[in-house]
Each structure stands twice: as structure tokens, then as C-alpha cells.
Amino acid sequence: MADGFSPSRRNFLQVSTAAGGGLLISVMIPGVAAAADAKGVFAPNNFVRIGADGIVTIMAKNPECGQGIKTALPMIVADELDADWSKVRIEQADSVPALYGAQRAGGSRSIPNEWIAMRKAGAMGRALLIAAAAETWKVDAASCSAAKGEVIHGPTGRKLPYGKLAAAAAKMPAIAPEAIKLKDPKDFAIMGKSVMQYDLPEIVTGKPLFGIDVRLPGMVYASFEQAPAYGAKLASADLAAAKAHPGVHDVFAIDGGANPSELVSGVAVIANNWWTAQQARKKLNAKWQAGPSAGQSTADFALKAAAAVKQAPTLSLRKDGDPDAGFKSAGKVIEAAYHYPYLSHATLEPQNCTAQYKDGKFEIWAPTQAPDTGRQIVARVLGVKPEDIKVHQIRCGGGFGRRLSNDYMVQAAAIAQKTGGAPVKLLWSREDDMAHDFYRPGGFCNFKAGIDKAGKLVAFRNHFVSFGANGKFSQGAAMAPTEFPAEAVGNFELVATVLDSAIPTGPMRAPQSNAHAFAYQSFIDEVAVAGGRDPLDLRVELLTVAAARRALLSKTDPTSPFPPFDPNRMLACVLKVKEMSGWGRAVPKGTGLGVAFYYSHSGYFAEVVEASVTDAGQVRAHKVWVAADVGNQIVNPSGAANQVQGAVIDGIGQALGLKIEVADGATVQKNFNQYPLIRMPQAPVSVDLQWVMSDNAPTGLGEPSLPPVIPALCNAIYAASGKRVRNLPIDLSAT
């Protein structure tokens, strides 16, 4: 799925002496460096530092929100550097794009974007350390090698540790990026072996790590009352009543606009602890004007969606061949309507941010996935220059795309402008968090498929309905024209209708894909059943058709408009998961196997779920098998497996129980009792994973691992019970 992230710009490296001695290697963005040079400013970059004590400090450039990137990117650097991992220390970088380039956690893009840059940063260090050792020994650098934090002179077996070489290495002439020699992947010594997440010792001992844990001298605590209906403006509030509450320092209104991703209208309550601020907030009795979402409701959306399908679509997204003729000539036509709900991200750490405003400048401690985006919004909305806003990237207690929006950062900054210079920690309650999300938008797929007598797919159509404004889909609501089986059938049509909605939406882990996989891969199962075909075999057939078509296209049209989806890579994953799961084996009555695959974020995932359904309609996912291709290198196998297991269970949880509903323009669900995240007893017994290694550069996996598990579960439910799930969350009493 296209995710809007531009490809990484070509980085180059700088080498210098670190403050206090030692070697320092920096990855620089060309444009930025040139600008700095033109101003005559020397930017002392600090990306890799090696001290005389042999400690290698590597900056973690991107936000950490549980995806493990704080460990994984430094592993890449350390491997090419031939560092001793036990001597590596990782420091979280601040948000400084001039030094670190784009710093963002989104789109499963950190590994693919940084793969070469991180390797070069490490490899350059190794080359300089080897050069320094060769000079010390007066030998040819080619006769030296490096391993585990030492340079070794092959012929004599002499060794020098990095700490002893750091100062000399810093004086070696820099190497042009083109001349940096990267390792042969077979020589990787750190990557490919499981490494414990770097912060885990602090996590298990309860050390302050998260945004919510930030404590500063003189800090005050804020709670912020927002309109229940998104973007509505404050009409009135009893500020005096709240201010009279013991322990309250101040209460004031914040003027905001109707755009929920910037600063919204509300009332801030400042107190000497957060609980007191919350208690005082209850006395505000705030009243709100009608906002942009007034009167909107889930029930009304459903009625409008049902009506829309009976009318002409507003958008034509793709048409191949002659679908109508295909349906006419088909032996059998299958039609089905699928629906998925709005969802909330529900990071377990509620949104929060700490900010201080002093002498016209901000210092901000933000658990965010997009720190510089937040900085730019703060600058624009509050009239402070971006360079006067220092942003610390603080570990996030979950991201899932929620923290790509920085509404809470702008709120904290706006509040900090009114606390007389005192740092202020804004914390949202769970209820605030669930009521003010950028939700995964709901949607409707209205499918029609034609099959011939052999069960072969001959025509396919979807009238997709989702939400937006002015005829355009809102964020996370669109559908790509490449949804499979787009390339696997000659007669294919995708049309869409956009319904007006003011419900704020945004990307949630595998945006679009997390919903579309459910609809398409469930319907393909229906097509298989209708044609008397095995659901896995039909998928193999479709992928084979797509692969043949792709091969033909690439021969005739080297600039094919199709995205770089390679059906053969997926085919390999489907065949692998078939073998892993023992597809086709006998299972007990009331139990079934379901399969699905999905391509997103450049990752290929095929998954099988074994599930059981009781007579009362109780669903249990027992086991899951995952075969996936994300390229030729898994950086940290432990972290990667953890992501995949978590994504699979997250997906199962969404399917089993989660929905966000809207009534009168506001969210109905308030807390976890109404938004039942999956719990341990519902988790499967095992999630078995095998990587299908292909000769492609490594890509991300935190997102693409999620989408296929939902249809695989629904297809397993069909196999177990004969009940077809066409609405999420799963409710078998309704089928």
C-alpha cells in the first residue's frame, strides 16, 4: 500500500573527532550540510562515538514505540562496524532533522529507508579503525581485518581494541561514501542473531522511560477538557468553580480551531498533581457549540452506505476488460456485502506531552511517532519559530499510528505558554484518549464475482463505500486500485462512493490493508467455496495467473504502472504456510483451518488460523502459522518474531471484539470495558513463523504481518461452522 513516505535521500557520512576525543561518524543529509557550510557553521554531528574506553555509543535516530527500532537500527551500524555488542550503548536522539534526517516511526519504513545509510555509517567506522591500526603497525590495511571491537593483523595475529584506535581513527582521511565497502551479508555477526531489546532492563525494573514518566523541577500537571463532539468550540464553562478546587493552580480556556489534528478549543486545568486536575475538571460543567460532526452517527452512516450502493458510484478507480460481459458469461455469480467498523488505536499509554515555554522558546518532551511534524504544527499555531522548539523523542507506550498525529503536543505547548515558565505535563485520561482519536475509518465492500464451470474467476467487481469530505476519502479510508485479485482476473472493476463524515481519521497499523484484507480475502474464500475449490488452491491459481500476467507486462512494458507487487513472492509464502499448517489435514468437528494472504508495506504475508466455534457461537483461535517474505535479512530475529506474534494477536483481538461507534457526532465507547482489547486467555497457544528469504533488500514487518490474520480467522470460522463472517467485529449470533 502506498503510504506517502518519500524514499530516503542519499545520505553521506562525515567523520570528526568527538568532543572529549575519540571517533565520531555522522550521517548527513546533503542539502542540509551544504546549507550549514554556506553559513560557515560547523555542525558537530554525533551519530557514532567510540571512546578511549572502547565503548561504542550509537544514536537511535527514530522514535521508539515498541517496534524495536531503537535496538534494530544500531544493530545494523554495529554489525558493519564490527563492534562488540556488549560494548555498544544506545542513546535516543532528539528530534534534529538537520543531524539525523527524517525521524519518524511510520509505514514500516525505518528498516528499508535506513538499511544502506546505517550500514555505511558502520562500515566507514570499521574502515577508519582499520586504517588507523595499519598505520600504527606500519602494515598494509588490506592485511588487517576487524571483529568484535578489535582490529586484527592477519599475518602476525596482532590485535588492537577500538578504544585504543579511536583517537587515531578520527584523524584518518574521510572515505567517500561510494568507496565504502559493505560486508558480504554472510559475514554479518550481529544481525540475524536475537538481541534483547535495549531498554528491557529498565522496563522490567520500572525505571522512568515513557512520556508519562517525565518529571521536571517545578513541573505542574494539566488536564484538558475537549468537546465530546470532535472539533466543537467551547460555549461556556465554570472556570471559577474548577479554580476553587484545592490544589488547583489555574484554569483557563484555550482557543482552538475545528481541525482536530491541530489545536482544538478546550479548557486547561493546572494543578499540583494530575488526579487533582481531573477532580477539578469535573466542576467545569463545560457547554459546547455545535461542531462539524453534530448529528452524525454510526446508524446513519450504515443507512447512507446501504443507499449509496444502489446508486451510481462517485469514483471509478479501475476498470480492466469487460466486467459486465464477464458476469453474463459466468457460470455462477456470487455477491456479498462486507463491513468493517471504525477502530481506536488505544495505545496503553494515553496521549501525553510535557512542555516548557521560557524566553519565547519551547522545550518539549514528546512521546510521538512524528516529532518534527509536531514541531511544525506548534510553530505554525503558536507563532514560534521551528528552530526555537527543542523536541526530545521520548519512548512511546504504544504507537500503532496514533502518535503520527501531534494534537496533544500542540495542546501541551499552548498550555505551557500560560504557566509562567513552569514545565507542564499534559496527560489525557483513558476516556479523553478513546474520545479523541484519529480513528481507523469504517467501510463497506460490495462484491460481485463471476466464476466459470471449473470455479475459475472470470470477473470481479467491488463497489467500495467509505468516508471523507468533498468527494475525497479521509486519511486511511481510501482503496488502492491494485487490491488483489486486480491482476489475477482480466475483467475487474473497482468503483467507490465517498460519504461525508467529520469523524477524524488517521493511519492505524497497516492502514487500509488492515480492513481491506478482511473483505477481499474473505470474499475470495466465498468464491472458492461457490466453485467447489479448495480456498488455498484457488489462491495459488490466482497468484499464478497474476504472476504470468506480470511477467508478460514487464516484457512488453518496462514502465508498468503496477506497483512492485510480485505474485511469485507471495506464492512462495502461501506454499510455505500450506506445508507448515498441514493444510488439508483432518481436524475435529467444530474446528477449521482458514487461510489468507496480504501484501502491504512491501511485505508478503500468508497466514493460516486454526479456530474452533462452539454451538453457542463462541470463537477461539488456537494456532496460527505465518510464512512471510520481507527480504534477505532479518535484523533482529527475536524482535521480528515478537512483532509478528503481536500483530497476529492484535488482529485476532480486533476481529473478535473491537468497534468504535458514533452518536451525535461523538464517540460512544469510553474505556476498555466498552472496547475490549484482547486478553491472555483469548490469545492463541502458538504463532509459528517462518521467513521465506528472498533476494530483496530487507523491508519492515510491524504492519504487513497484521492484515491477513483477520480473514484467515474468519475463513477458519467458516470451515469450522459454515458461518460466513461479513461484519466485524465477529458476532456469530447475527449470521
Binding site: 503481536g646 476498555f672 486467555p681
Partner: protein, 161 residues
Amino acid sequence: MAYNLKINGKSVSVDAPAEMPLLWALRDVLGLVGTKYGCGVAQCGACTVHIDGKPVRSCQKTVGSVGAASISTVEALAENPVGKKLQQAWMNLDVAQCGYCQAGQLMSAAALLTATPKPSDEQIDAAMAGNLCRCATYLRIRAAIKQAAGLTTAMKEQANG
């Protein structure tokens, strides 16, 4: 008003209203931020502490109701032999993703293994059902509890990734 609470083996004076939940006294008044806020309504378990050895949701226990009971938080978990084993197992199996819930998970697990040193799979699931993990690291939490209880070997669990 001021209360004398016994926290992690020490007597601590807390100046807070009687009805303030223990969670906020720990976090905002005493600066013991290892105990986490997730929901405020005893749904997520992130705020789990031990009171006289029993797992308690500190968002539901008021400062005024603690009395002379002994409170133990994640910051003192390593002083408890069961807690120490659990922390080690958590690291051996690289359990966490974002890590936000893990203090509460560990506190619930420590209470489980103290009461039931060799729990069955069902007992583990039941004891941990009140602790949400949004990253869904449940498989590794289960495995780590079993490892800490001596029910599996480190080698076997590592093989499962």
C-alpha cells in the same frame, strides 16, 4: 492531609487527600512512576501493585484506605526472589514491545507464582486475564512465567522465537 504509608519496606509520608488513588500518590506525589496509568477503572492492570503480597489495582485503592498495609511496587520487585526470577525470564525471552504494561504484568505474575509456584496453563491465563498488553506479547509473557516457575528451559523457549 499526611498519611504514613509503608512502601517498599520503608515508612513514607504522603501529603494527599484521603480519596486520592494510591496510583497517583505513587506517581505524582512520591515519584514512583514505574506503576502505570492505563484506564483508571481496573480494566487494564497497568497499575498493579502488591498490598500485603496480594495483587491490587492501585487506581482503585485510595490513600486513606491503605492504613498500615505493606505496599510493594515494581521498583522493589527485584528484592523479591520470585520477582527477580521473573525479571530475568522477561529478559531471557525478550518479552516486551512498548513495555508500558510490563510492570503490571510482572506484579501480577509475581503474585501468581508466590501463591502458586507451579501454575497450570489455565492458572496462568486466569491470573493474567486482568492485565492488558496492547502490543499483545501474551505468548512471551506466558512463556516467561513458565520459565521463571521452572516449568520450561530457557533453550526451549528461545527456539520458539
